[in-house]
Amino acid sequence: MTTEAADPTEAVGAVAPAADPGFLQRHGTTIEYILIPGAALAGALVVFGIFVAMFGKNPLDLYFYMYYGAFGTWFSWQNTLTRAAPLILTALCTALPAQLGMVIIGGEGALLIGALSATSAALLLQGMPPLIVQIAMVIAGVSGGGLWIMLAGALRQYRGVNETISSLLLVYIGLAILNHLVEGAMRDPASLNKPSTREIGAANMIGSIPGTDVHWGLVFGLIAAVAAYILIYHTVFGFAARVAGGNIRAAKIVGLGVSKLILTICFLAGGAAGLAGMVEVAAVQGRTNANLAAGYGFTGILVAFLARQNPLAIIPVAILLGGISASGGLLQRRLGLPDASVLVLQGIIFVFVLASDALYGRIGFLKGKS
């Protein structure tokens, strides 16, 4: 008993420093979440600079053109934001299931199926008022993409199929379905070189935010990200999801409907990516063809990981990576870099961000927080 009695005093002694924490200690976690990914990003940029220097290009030129092409002018800002819109939505496709501890990497497939469904809805409803067509496109895009990822979730829950692999296989299956329909049943006979569906019609396009060239898809993305944040952090449903993600057995013991959680979250995740597909059709392409497989789904995975699966953090990260991809054209023209350099940089960033996971809780001056 005497030895046990000594313990509480010791515990109080250990807590005592925390009673008067400095600013760094109080906000240690938040600072870490900004500092560590930031450092990883900087490290990745340095390595990419060295990589480019090996090919005889000046890294300082590289950084300048990257900044200029991404955020240097109003024109590049608009280009950046236009690319960020689908990235926010496809990142949610990875970030929402991550709350449940699932790794879904099939956003590209949900985007393609969403685009195909939205186009089908628009083509079926030709002649209806544009607003009705657009609403139908949103519903079709969200449900198409949502059901696609829900399939991966259901396979995981009911058959134990690994969701990472199944969602990636579904990308290739989705692309095959898109190509099959675009070159077959849904093909516009007038599209000779690039098989495409018929156009959804200029009146049905969702257009730009007034005063800019940025389409309304950005607003869709912002609303979806904020809604996802509220859902995950400020509702009972989100709390249940995070409990299940933390400890699936505990969730089952307290009686949470894990199947329902998984299916709903996967539907919402796929729905977000499907909405990205709808936006790409209704704001950029005007029709469905193989151009839609532009890799937004794969970049979205990187955005989600860089944002540490936090729906609000996805917004700035998507703008940052949208900027990197927007600067790709300028890098090609001014520095003669191949278009794949954006992919290389994204890969390096991804590797650095994951390796930086090891740093959390290990930075000396931030330690001592409760």
């Binding site: 790794v103 990497i105 396979l155 829950q157 009911y158 058959r159 134990g160 199929v161 690994n162 990472t164 692999i165 199944s166 990636l168 296989l169 579904l170 990308v171 290739y172 299956i173 692309l175 095959a176 379905i177 190509n179 099959h180 070159e183 077959g184 794969f298 995975i301 990187l302 990981f305 191949p338 794949a340 350099s341 954006v342 992919l343 290389v344 940089l345 994204q346 890969g347 390096i348 991804f350 590797v351 961000v353 994951l354 390796a355 996971d357 090891a358 959390y360």
Partner: protein
């Protein structure tokens, strides 16, 4: 014998040829991944390794004139990517599935970047051995033109099966995969075993890539691999981490992948893209049938993150 006289036999012949030709990359990647996963780690980055292997093999073959040096270069590139994967995974709290996704993007991007100048030139290809000399049917002869890499892969499967069961290295890899504590208690570094297993896995996957660019389809372009690497990773799961089953599964996959082009050659063009997706649909279907939520898969290494 005239072309037309064998008629619809073209399809099974092309599927047979495909099972031999198209299966080789599946075979190498799945055997490599089998070694890595047996050591308790999953490397989803082999898709990137495959593409990097294809690019470096083509480049080295073009520069040196020797396709076999290209194969070696592809293997070394793959081993380096494997070392990168294992190195990052050795850090505390780093998720191996996520690192694999990152290396998939990184490997593909790097291969496209470095491979830009290689799209135009023609590099020396790997030679084929003609096993169909006794036949008059051109399609059968084409189907039986076999690459040495395929034979190496076929030989490798039983060798690995034997090595896992009887050699010291096989036992060490399996120990690391079943219980890292046991391996540590025996005085071995789990991280080092996994590093080596991932490097060997990457080496084999790189060689699988060299087959793509140096034999079939036999050129370098950015659409060379569309998911063969990831399909092969999935293939290991339903081959139950058994090298011999990997061999049969790879052959089945090669046949499935050859179905689309085979049907197209006899004039069945509708559904071409759907038939091309056959390997992915097959993978998914087999995973649905063989997986179960109630128990872990038999043969699954206990330390593997995706089966827990």
């Amino acid at each position: 014998m005239a072309d037309g006289s064998i008629g619809l036999w073209t399809v099974p012949l092309a599927v047979l040829g495909g099972a031999i030709r198209v299966s080789t990359p599946f075979l190498f990647v799945s055997l490599g991944e089998c070694i890595t996963e047996r050591s308790g780690r999953i490397n989803l980055g082999l898709e990137g390794t495959l593409v990097m292997g294809a690019m470096s093999a083509y480049g080295i073959s073009y520069l040196t004139g020797s396709p076999w040096l290209g194969v070696l270069a592809a293997g070394i590139t793959g081993a380096l990517l494997g070392a990168l994967h294992a190195g990052i995974c050795s850090l505390p709290r780093v998720n191996d599935v996520a690192v694999g996704i990152a290396l998939m993007l990184f490997g593909t991007g790097l291969a496209f970047y470095l491979g830009k100048p290689l799209i135009e030139p023609t590099a020396p290809r790997l030679p084929a051995i003609d096993f169909g000399w006794w036949s008059d049917i051109p399609q059968l002869r084409a189907a039986l033109r076999v690459n040495v890499l395929f034979l190496i892969g076929v030989a490798l499967a039983p060798i690995l099966y034997w090595a896992f069961r009887t050699t010291r290295w096989g036992l060490l890899i399996r120990t690391a995969g079943e219980s890292s504590d046991a391996a540590r208690a025996m005085g071995h570094s789990v991280l080092l075993i996994r590093l080596r297993a991932t490097m060997v896995g990457g080496f084999l996957a790189g060689i699988g890539g060299s087959f793509l660019s140096l034999f079939y389809p036999g050129s370098w372009n950015e659409g060379l691999s569309s998911g063969q690497g990831i399909t092969a990773v999935a293939l290991v799961i339903f081959a139950r981490w058994d090298p011999l089953l990997c061999l049969w599964a790879s052959l089945a996959f090669g046949g499935a992948a050859a179905l689309g082009p085979a049907l197209q050659s006899v004039g069945v063009t509708s559904g071409y893209h759907l038939f091309n997706a056959a390997p992915y649909i097959l993978t998914l279907a087999i995973m649905i049938v063989t997986c179960s939520p109630k128990r872990t898969l038999t043969g699954a290494p206990a330390e593997l993150s995706i089966t827990r």
